[in-house]
């Protein structure tokens, strides 16, 4: 029994954080099932959930209203609905005003804000409380509403079976009497179904920060706040109130589809159009790139791209990106574009990228889809330390009203869900902690009952059952908005009429209420300004080389295609090199043996979860080594896959395959790409499978081939690299590898000065440099600058001098005073140093701990004795005569103590590796050094031990954990299968010094130990500070 037509006008999603208990999609789906005429999404002072609702509503053909619930400072609660684009802009502006006027996470609005700012919106008064007590107040509120919003005010009647429905209705009728304020029915919906009542209660408790038992009357008394069947509503409400909802819905004609992005205009000089200006800049760039003029094919490509850009009117976007890049370059900030549109010829000409697209078979349609009104996407990497300058430039140029960062919606994950809900259910913090601890970074977004059992709980215990069920529901709920790492939205008009802007937690930062996916779904454009540590390191290394060799040296001066570089890379001698320094990359390098730039592009792209899960790695390697013949099912496919030996490795190859082998249009292929990226989250590749296999069959391909391609697409999922991306990265790979190969001192120096970055800590970087013959000199107050630097050796090659920046807890200001004082004359002793550099005790202790005073005092103990005895003199009094004081008889630190102190103060040692000191004891347990593995036959059982430097558990590896340990002779790569990892989880996770017994496995140059038993030997390290990096 369907009941009368109805539109719900007051409905919260879970974007009313910790109030709404349903996803926007769930609400839309349910409203549609119930046959609602329309659904309004009215989150509290937010439009965070409307894009998702919009996408879902569009798919189902449900009319969606956009609005927001607002609670004013005076206590008045109302729902504001947007009637058209203009009203929507007013709503966003009002939300922005409220949000910007308050702390992050709250808002501040007064009646005057509504009176002045919502000229086009409908406003529903939501009266709350006991009718008998509040009748007078309601009457006043209604009068204000009728005056402030003539013809646009309504009184929401929310009958939720609190025992006073009849009284409420009567009181509201009286309140609105004679005021031309229609009464409308609404439901104050917090959840799509009754079944979410418990979660809603729990959310309330979490919001209040108390257990449910203490939440008391602040919980909703019943679960009536759901999307009710229309027949049920018909029993509660007079028919005219239900009919009134339709009248309201009728007046709201706004759809998010109307939002059209307008680009900023100031990037075009007067007298030019965006198109003419882009053409001019492109032509200029082309002359720079090809001084003798571009080839015909390049010329044709330029014309093709410009025509496409013009047709879709994306000129301003390219100009915006160009403008940012020009700014960065003018400041000497190294930057590089990548992303979907970056590797066009136009971008190459504009200087956004350095990869000559003529060398790559890019597929420009992939980036700009003609059929779909989808924006291009360019990410720009900047030196990470200087990205803020670029961000401030953007704010300054476009103003805060027009530029803002996209939000990142922080959602519930197993640990956070367990913590919050555990507390709500009254578990002790110790218990929830225990449960949360059982979830590891690799456990993903499901809570395995086994984990619960492991934590010592019975998953069948009723409290636990309740907890786990609620956790399952809560998973993926948003918790709060955070700022996206660098996704900027820049608009022509005020941004706040497009989407509300709120304060981020960082001062001087603002974020919009939508995230990256929301922007994508609406076709709004953003520019990603990202920080990349390697760019900073490369710039520094180039400068060091130029300075040391006394000649200009820029990225362009790095000689291309140097065989020695490829030899080094093929040996996996790549500690510190961009991207290919990871454990997985290092394992691949000796197999793939890159010989040219394009091999690096493949190397970067192939060691990705996508190709690994799509099972592309082994076929490629077999074909590359000639074990398997390179064949193609057709010449069309050959044209697509030839450069990767018939195995699709890049995202665009998959799309192109769909085009040439299955007859997809470019636009369809692009939809496939987007579906590929999202299917793990949303599913929905089914009809592509059908379309793909049918298309291939029609074109004479075998069923097996079609299935294989589809499986590869599935495997690719989110994780495939586009070729353009890989190419941009490969450039940095090559440049950093060249520097490591030819200028190892400068390269290591630059890496040290750019920390933290990369896979390896300074200790490993320095050890690797010394293994390559770089002389590394200790920190010394007599010579060290702030940064690590190069010094000349007698043989003309540079030595690396560690800088004062390596010294833990030494302030930069103190270091700079020290350097300035030293320029006026060398220090006589510690007292002299203290006085002239005006150092604090803490600075002196930091220097003593780092061994940086050795040239003044001798060993660390003496240094500390001297430091403890120095006094900052009073301004006028001369330093106390301390000459009479005797020199103490202090034992020199042992080697072990020095190593421990080195690690503590510098994070590295120039002395022996700690394990060298432990070798004898380890040898007693038949533990052999890493170097000795070379002598062991494959398949033998070995025992090794080392300091854990990385743990990695890639999602693509089926629960395998990769651990790298280090001893005094080198690194050992350990593979821990899931069963071993589960059985010895704690040892695996907590050991700093890990001993492993396992089987030696060798494949070419790559050696692994397959762990059988792990032992935690950390206690042998004593106070040694070690640091392992854990990766997904």
């Amino acid at each position: 029994m369907p009941g009368p037509p109805y539109a719900e006008l007051h409905c919260l999603t879970h974007f009313s954080f910790l109030r709404g208990a349903s996803h926007p999609e769930e609400l839309v789906t349910r409203a549609h099932e119930l046959g609602y005429a329309a659904l309004a999404i009215t989150d509290e002072c937010s439009v965070g959930g409307v894009v998702r609702a919009h996408v879902a509503a569009k798919a189902r053909g449900l009319a969606l209203l956009i609005g927001a619930e607002l609670r004013l400072v005076c206590g008045l609660k109302c729902v504001v609905l947007a009637t058209d684009r203009q009203a929507y802009g007013q709503l966003c502006r009002t939300i922005t005003r409220g949000r910007r006027a308050a702390q992050k996470g709250s808002y501040h609005l007064e009646r005057s804000d509504l009176e002045s700012g919502l000229a086009g919106c409908l406003v529903l008064l939501v009266p709350e409380g006991e009718p008998a007590l509040r009748a007078a107040q309601w009457r006043d509120d209604a009068r204000w509403l009728a005056e402030a919003f003539p013809g646009r005010g309504f009184v929401a009647v929310e009958l939720l079976r609190d025992g006073l429905d009849r009284a409420r209705l009567a009181a509201l009728e009286r309140a609105a009497e004679g005021l031309a304020l229609p009464l409308v029915a609404s439901g104050d919906v917090h959840q799509h179904a009754r079944a979410r009542r418990r979660l809603q209660d729990a959310l309330t408790a979490v919001r209040l920060g108390v257990p449910l038992a203490e939440a008391g009357w602040r919980l909703l008394p019943s679960g009536e706040h759901y999307l009710r069947e229309r027949a049920r509503l018909a029993k509660l409400y007079p028919p005219e109130l239900l009919a009134a909802t339709l009248a309201v819905a009728e007046r709201c004609r706004f759809s998010l589809d109307e939002l059209r992005y307008e680009y900023p205009r100031e990037i075009v000089p007067p007298g030019e159009t965006a198109a003419s200006w882009l053409r001019q800049l492109t032509e200029e760039g082309a002359r720079r790139r090809w001084p003798r003029g571009p080839s015909d094919s390049v010329r044709a490509l330029i014309e093709h791209e410009l025509a496409l850009i013009a047709e879709l009117r994306y000129e301003a976007y390219f100009l915006t990106v160009h403008d940012i890049v020009v700014f960065a370059k003018s400041r000497g900030i190294l930057c590089q574009g990548r992303g979907s549109a970056a590797n066009s010829v136009v971008c190459f000409c504009l200087g956004v990228t350095e990869v000559d697209p003529a060398r790559l078979a890019t597929l420009f349609e992939r980036f700009i889809s003609k059929e779909r009104n989808e924006p291009p996407d360019i990410d720009i990497d900047f030196e990470h330390e200087r990205r803020e300058e670029v961000i401030q430039y953007v704010y300054a140029k476009y103003g805060r009203e027009r530029a803002a960062l996209a939000a990142t919606v922080i959602t519930y994950r197993p640990r956070s869900a367990l913590r919050d809900l555990g507390k709500a259910l009254g578990l002790e913090s110790a218990q929830t902690e225990k449960l949360a601890r059982a979830m590891q970074w690799w456990d993903g977004s499901v809570i395995d009952p086994e984990r619960v059992r492991e934590a010592g709980f019975d998953p069948d215990n009723p409290v636990l059952v309740r907890l786990l069920e609620l956790c399952r529901e809560l998973m993926g709920f948003p918790r709060h908005l955070s700022q996206h790492v660098g996704g900027f939205v820049i608009s022509a008009g005020p941004l706040e009429e497009l989407v509300p802007i709120e304060n981020a937690s960082m001062p001087e930062r603002t974020v919009i209420q939508w995230d990256k996916n929301d922007l994508d779904d609406l076709g709004l454009i953003k520019v990603d300004l990202l920080g990349l540590g390697m760019l900073a390191a490369i710039r520094r290394a180039l400068a060091l080389v130029a300075d040391y060799r006394r000649r200009p040296f820029t990225l362009a001066d790095v000689p291309p295609e140097d065989p020695r570089v490829y030899e080094m890379v093929s040996r996996a001698d790549t500690v510190g090199v961009f991207q290919i320094e990871s454990r997985a990359q290092m394992a691949m390098l000796p197999r793939l043996k890159p010989r040219c730039f394009y091999d690096l592009v493949i190397e970067v792209a192939i060691v990705r979860p996508g190709p690994i899960q799509g099972d592309m790695v082994h076929p490629y390697l077999r074909r590359r080594t000639g074990v398997e013949p390179v064949t193609y099912p057709s010449s069309a496919v050959q044209s697509v896959l030839e450069r990767t030996l018939g195995v699709p490795i890049f995202q665009e190859q998959v799309m192109q395959l769909a085009i040439v082998a299955a007859g997809f249009s470019a636009g369809e292929a692009d939809r496939l790409r987007r579906a590929m990226a999202a299917w793990k989250r949303r599913g929905g590749l089914g009809h592509f499978e059908e379309r793909l296999t049918r298309g291939m069959r029609e074109r004479g391909y075998s069923e097996t081939f079609a299935q294989q391609i589809f499986q590869q697409i599935l495997g690719f999922g989110d994780y495939g690299f586009p070729e353009s991306h890989a190419a941009s990265f490969a450039l940095l790979v090559y440049s950093s590898a060249w520097l490591k190969c030819h200028e190892p001192a400068a390269f290591t120096c630059a890496l040290l000065n750019s920390q933290p970055m990369g896979f390896y800590a300074p200790a490993q970087l320095v050890r690797d440099a010394r293994a390559h013959g770089v002389e590394v000199r200790p920190v010394d107050v007599g010579v060290s600058g702030w940064d690590c630097a190069l010094e000349e050796r007698p043989n003309g090659e540079p030595a690396l001098r560690l800088g004062l920046n390596r010294v833990r807890s030494l302030s930069q200001a103190a270091a700079l005073r020290l350097i300035a004082a030293r320029e006026r004359g060398a220090f006589r002793d510690v007292q002299d140093l203290t006085e002239r550099a005006a150092l604090e005790r803490s600075d002196l202790e930091a220097l003593a701990a780092a061994g940086a005073l050795a040239s003044l005092t001798g060993n660390r103990h003496l240094a500390f004795w001297d430091v403890a005895g120095t006094e900052r003199p009073l301004p006028l009094a001369p330093a106390l005569a301390t000459a009479a004081e005797g020199r103490p008889l202090l034992a020199a630190p042992t080697e072990g103590e020095d190593i421990v102190a080195d690690y503590q103060a510098l994070g590295l040692t120039l002395g022996r590796h700690p394990l060298a000191l432990l070798r004898e004891r380890l040898a007693a347990d038949d533990i052999i050094p890493a170097a000795a593995l070379a002598e062991v036959r494959a398949g033998a059982i070995v025992r090794i031990a080392g300091i854990v430097i990385t743990r990695q558990r890639p999602g693509s590896a089926g629960g395998v954990t990769f651990v790298t340990v280090e001893d005094e002779t080198g690194n050992v790569n350990i593979i821990v299968w899931k069963t071993v990892a589960e059985a010895q989880r704690r040892v695996l996770l907590e050991s700093r010094l890990l001993a492993v017994e396992g089987e030696l496995q060798r494949e070419g140059l790559v050696t692994h130990v397959i762990a059988r038993r792990l032992t935690d030997r950390s206690v042998l390290l004593g106070q040694l500070v070690t640091r392992a990096r854990n990766f997904h």
């Binding site: 409380g129 006991e130 007590l133 939720l160 079976r161 609190d162 025992g163 006073l164 009849r166 009542r197 209660d201 729990a202 449910l212 038992a213 203490e214 939440a215 008391g216 009357w217 602040r218 919980l219 008394p221 019943s222 679960g223 009536e224 009254g426 110790a430 902690e433 225990k434 601890r437 010592g456 709980f457 309740r466 003593a848 660390r860 103990h861 500390f864 004795w865 403890a868 005895g869 004081e885 005797g886 103490p888 008889l889 202090l890 034992a891 630190p893 042992t894 072990g896 103590e897 190593i899 421990v900 700690p914 432990l918 704690r986 206690v1019 042998l1020 390290l1021 004593g1022 106070q1023 040694l1024």
Partner: protein, 539 residues
Amino acid sequence: MAEPLQRRSRAGQAAAAQLDLLAPPAAVPLGVPLAVPTAATATAPEALAGTHELWLAAYLPGLAFEALQDEFTSTGPRAVLEDAERSPRVLLVDEAARRLGIRPGLTLAAALALSSELEMKVRDVSRERVWLERTAELALAYTSRVSLEPPDGLLLEIRGSVRLFGGLEALCRKFEAHCHASRRRPVCAVAPSPLAALAGARAARALRVTSMARLAGALAPLPLAALRWDEDTLHRLASVGVRTVGEALRLPRAGFARRFGPARLRLLDELVGRRAAARRGFQAAERFRGRCEPDYELESLDAVLAALEPLLIDLEHFLETRQRGVTVIRCQLRHRGQPPTCCVLRLALPEARAARFAALLRERLGTLTLAAPVRRCELRTGPLLPRPLATEVLWHPGEHGGDGATAESLALVEQLRARLGRDGVYSLGLYADHRPERMIHSVEPAVGEAIRGQVPWSATRRPLWLLAVPQALRERHALPVYDGALELVRGPERIETGWWDGAEVERDYYVARDGRRAWLWIFRERAAPHRWFLHGFFG
């Protein structure tokens, strides 16, 4: 109880870790006796020479655990935690916990990760203090000169007692056995200077040094951490390579004083007996006892009270000087040929004023009938407790029932309870819960629960007279019957809540009128079979 306990000590840990291969133990300086007497290898006590004092230090490494041992319900693994609020850490563990790898210093989460059975208590410093004082009382059996060395040590000057107990070793053994019998595990050390004895004990070494001449040598290997200097000083000393007492003693005096302060130099001097150190004696009896035996038998309440008055004034003075109060006073009135009359006064808050005690005793005694005239009055208190500064803090103004809930109204409650008995007086509490049966309940008058947030208007529409258990109603034609068919006047009020504690309700409440026009509050269950119940009456 009492497995050996592991105490958390950063300095101690550091020293232990350094002993691993990375930092071989510092060579013992020449000229120092290498053998350190331990409990097992304690050398025969040398003849007592000279006239200096001789100190026995007792260190209770497991104090925090011992003070709480009655609180534990399991026999292990057990741990005492440092602080419940800010990132709690393990302070002490028992042997069972130690075997599981639980170490002092671990975070709570880490400890729990190692054992889910771990029973944990948060340390209670005030109980530790009491435990230490009790230990001191016990020590008074060995010498009259006992001093507390909070937080975890005692010093006994035993020079005069050694002969009495049959020698030093015998004395030590006897004292230790005595402690064990009362569930304490001290580490005892003997030295001619109090600091040295204490340092020895705290370093967990059973020193037995009786001559000044051997003292410095015996102390040399002790870690400086045993002196309980602050972490910063210990750290700075360690950074110049000085970790033991011997190493510190070898530093140049002026240089040491300039860097680490003259006070620490003085402490070193006291340690090796170059300076005398004063100790403050310990007084036992931290409870009040008093009695009076009047010259004649007391036959009236007034006479008894008059006789008690000087005792109460003594008590007030006793409490005032200690800044303490009591909540329990036992008053025993002895008669001739009859069992004594007992009356126990219990107060809501620690109290120290004689006038209050007198007033309450008057109320309490007034309810008793004396079996015979009183020959003797005895007054004993319960343990001394810290006194809150003001009694007003219990009921904040503005809380439910809070207005005017000052010391006076609290006093009234106590007076009523003194007369009517403990259970005769309680408050009706309004508890924030949508479930009607949870909303109204009886509470201790002095511990009224604060109600957070506003009382919802629906609460004001409920009857005060609720049935303890809802009563099922018969039905006729699907409508409830109670004294005739019921007319549903208002409703439904839907209440669906309480799922989290196993007492979930899902009901529709109605206000109903019966045939005699009485107003009833009834509900219908939302779940099948949708029965009707009577839950209350409107007045």
